[in-house]
Symmetry: C2
Subunit: 101 residues, 2 copies
């Protein structure tokens, strides 16, 4: 993980809504129990839109930011995009911060 990547990751975490999203994706079964699709694929974007209360386009941008930072991945199935948290990346980030900071 380069310094530039670390920078991008910290910036990604510097917005409370993005931290919320990352948290919700930690326990999809708890936070997205009402999702119609199976949670196996991940959480679909619209569910996250709802939970934040922000506009669809804004949330899409937040998700893109988290994805660029590597914290989440998306899988497109039909018309839906399913997002999952990359636990390994989160842990690698924390480990890096522990030694770097």
């Amino acid at each position: 993980m380069s310094t530039a990547e670390l920078d991008e990751m910290i910036k990604a975490l510097s917005h409370p809504v993005r931290r919320d999203i990352l948290n919700w994706l930690k326990q999809p079964d708890i936070f997205f129990a009402d999702q119609q699709h199976s949670l196996n694929l991940g959480v679909c974007a619209g569910m996250i839109d709802q939970k934040t209360g922000l506009s669809q386009s804004t949330v899409s941008a937040h998700l893109a930011t988290l994805q660029r930072a590597g914290f989440i991945s998306s899988k497109k199935v039909g018309q839906w995009s399913f997002f999952t948290r990359n636990e390994a990346v989160v842990q690698a980030f924390l480990a890096r911060l522990n030694e770097q900071l």
Copy 2:
């Protein structure tokens, strides 16, 4: 550490120069070996100004941001301000992030 405080701390770390400063203050004897005053008191603002290459007022603002977040403290002696890293706060922040993220 409240959510608001955590937010302020992450934001404080979201600027590379502020992370640099925090790093330099971790090993003052290495990064500020040329300081005239004893390093026991901390690192004086002017030394940090130099190292960043940014203007005096800009660095003063960065130091204020780090201080508001709790990561550093300052002690005024004569006309100088000496800054020290609050290791306990840094560690508390990391611990919090480890469980919260």
